[in-house]
């Protein structure tokens, strides 16, 4: 069996490819990529078995960043878990905050003022811009760019982080949403700043795409690499841009219509191939839709209170029951499941982390590809180890 046969066998979702051991093919090479490999996006480890450079087996190892998040949540008050959610997916703390706040609000039947809903949408879409920009930069870094797209991505991300900092006091660990609203009311200046950023972001995306999207090397590296079939994606529970890149129309902003999303006009881009290039492009197109949502939300934000006046900050004891709050995070469906027994702490606190679940099919995507492909496939899954290992 030659290497080319191997690559045809290693179709996504296929069974494990067995390489032939004989005098012509030699031994397989087992390489431990990670936990301190430069492009494992943190402390992720892949034990890769290679035939030449072709992957015949890939065993992901997680848990190097495990911080007992869910057990901590059961031993902390409802409010006390909020800053911890920042540290799940530390690139998108605002959406984590929102998903958790949504779960608690469902549990307690807590209404949210309209202005707060708008602010949440604005922050979630800014987070999506931030996250997708970073992802594109990281992915191109994995493709072997000498840092240039990553630095451009970080240049723009810095502007969004400045907005977050001037609103919430911290760049990444925002801890901004509260049960029944948001912590601080954004000033008119802040909204102007967000508007300015939104208006300028399209130009940055154009430049970014000129550098990357039409680049022949990028296309050759990413097209047809790491294909994922819609059936496998659905059965594995993959969500977010990765699922939409396979052509499945599933966006919680449309499906659940949570918050005030039904009021905005935006489209959901879908891919047809489910490969790395589609995942990259879906994210770029989603950013363009996010810009549309942002300009609508910034134009239509109503005046009013930012917190529900009846909302309780301390001594918060929701009645016994359970609730699941989920939103469309930048990486996929981020959900929090809470069971209350009427005490100040949740009885059970469970997270549905999108990047962990999206990562479970890594081997299926990587089999039959080369080492170089495995790196960019991992990059295109968009993981943050804080969320994978929790």
């Amino acid at each position: 069996m030659s290497v080319s046969d191997l690559s045809s066998l290693g179709s996504p979702g296929g069974s494990h490819v067995r390489a032939v051991h004989d005098e012509f093919h030699g031994d397989l090479l087992e390489v431990s990529m990670g936990p301190h490999h430069p492009s494992t996006h943190g402390v992720f480890r892949m034990i890769v078995t290679l035939d030449g450079e072709t992957i015949v087996k890939l065993k992901p190892v997680f848990g190097y960043l495990h911080r007992n998040h869910e057990k901590l949540g059961e031993n902390t008050s409802y409010l006390g878990s909020m800053p911890y959610t920042d540290r799940l997916d530390y690139l998108s703390s605002m959406t984590n905050n929102w998903a958790y706040a949504l779960a608690v609000e469902k549990l307690a039947g807590q209404p949210v003022p309209e202005r707060a809903e708008y602010v949440r949408v604005i922050l979630a879409e800014l987070t999506r811009l931030l996250n997708h920009t970073c992802l594109a930069g990281f992915l191109m870094q994995d493709c072997g760019c000498s840092g240039t797209p990553l630095m451009y991505a970080f240049r723009e991300r810095e502007k969004i982080l400045d907005l977050f900092e001037s609103l919430s006091g911290s760049r990444m660990m925002c801890n901004y949403q509260r049960f029944g609203g948001c912590r601080v009311d954004p000033s008119a200046d802040w909204l102007d700043g967000a508007k300015k950023l939104t208006d300028g972001y399209g130009a940055f995306l154009d430049e970014f795409e000129t550098l990357l999207t039409g680049n022949e090397i990028i296309m050759a590296r990413t097209q047809g690499v790491g294909r994922l079939s819609p059936a496998l994606a659905i059965s594995a529970g993959v969500t977010g841009p990765m699922l939409r890149a396979t052509g499945v129309n599933y966006d919680l902003r449309k499906v659940d219509g949570y918050g005030v999303y039904p009021r905005f006009d935006f489209r959901v881009p879908l891919g047809d191939h489910g490969d790395v290039y589609d995942r990259y492009m879906i994210r770029v197109l989603e950013m363009r839709e996010s810009i549309k949502i942002l300009s609508q939300a910034l134009a239509g934000i109503p005046a009013g209170p930012i917190m529900d006046p009846k909302a309780k900050l301390r001594g918060f004891r929701p009645k016994a029951g359970e609730a699941y709050g989920r939103i469309e995070g930048p990486k996929g469906e981020i959900g929090f499941f809470l069971i209350s027994d009427g005490s100040p702490n949740p009885y059970r606190y469970r997270i549905r982390p999108p990047s962990f679940i999206n990562l479970t099919i890594l081997e299926d995507m990587c089999l039959g590809q080369t080492v170089a492909d495995a790196v960019i496939i991992l990059g295109s899954v968009d993981i943050v180890l804080g969320e994978v290992d929790r």
Partner: protein, 222 residues
């Protein structure tokens, strides 16, 4: 044609190379120790304790050692010991004060929850981030002497917030004075009248420092 995308990419990088010399939007670096970025007013780092008076920080701490922040702190980095005796607080009422107030900033995650739950506006977020030290055990374990900073410093770093807090405290103080006056009047009336008025008694029993209804903060736990 093959290579056109590559040439476009070269164009973009060339534009950025040239732009980094004249376009401030394309060279965003601040060279830190010499040039410092202006921190936004909302910026928060580790907490500090507000004292009314810079000359006597320990005597005028707003903190009354109620231990709410200690209880609410998610990583539990605050350690408080109540005093045995009482001191007059900002409104002149006798209150407990913290005999020990330690914050382990190597554990603190600057989440601001202590600030939000504090009913006395006694703990606020600092903006000092240059606290690196070679001694991580005692150097990062801040006691109340290291934590206490005057109200003027609070005004300096969070002017809007501080003005709002001061206004509220002044209103509370005024309300407390009026209440005390009313109580004194009631007492005088009580002394004059043969029978005590139950409503006036209830008013005196209420804590004088109860926050006004407009304040967004919740009152201290009953």
């Amino acid at each position: 044609m093959l290579g056109s995308g590559l040439l476009q990419g070269l164009g973009v990088t060339a534009k950025n190379f040239v732009g980094s010399f004249h376009d401030p939007a394309r060279l965003t670096t601040t060279e830190y120790p010499e040039v410092k970025t202006k921190l936004p007013e909302a910026y928060r780092n580790f907490p500090f304790l507000v004292s009314e008076n810079a000359t006597d920080p320990m005597g005028t701490l707003r903190c009354v050692a109620c231990q709410i922040c200690e209880k609410e702190c998610p990583p539990q980095c605050i350690f408080i010991e109540k005093s045995k005796d009482k001191k007059p607080d900002a409104t002149g009422k006798l209150q407990l004060f913290p005999a020990v107030f330690d914050i382990d900033v190597s554990v603190c995650m600057s989440c601001q929850i202590c600030v939000e739950v504090c009913p006395f506006d006694a703990i606020k977020m600092d903006q000092d981030f240059e606290i690196a030290t070679t001694d991580r055990f005692t150097g990062l374990m801040l006691d109340k002497h290291a934590l206490a900073k005057p109200n003027s410093y609070f005004h300096e770093i969070h002017p809007t917030d501080a003005a709002e807090v001061d206004g509220r405290l002044a209103a509370e103080r005024k309300a407390a004075e009026e209440k005390a006056k009313a109580a004194a009047a009631a007492k005088a009336a009580l002394a004059a009248a043969p029978k005590p008025a139950p409503a006036a008694l209830a008013a005196t029993a209420k804590p004088p420092a109860a926050p006004s209804a407009e304040a967004p903060k919740t009152p201290p736990a009953a």
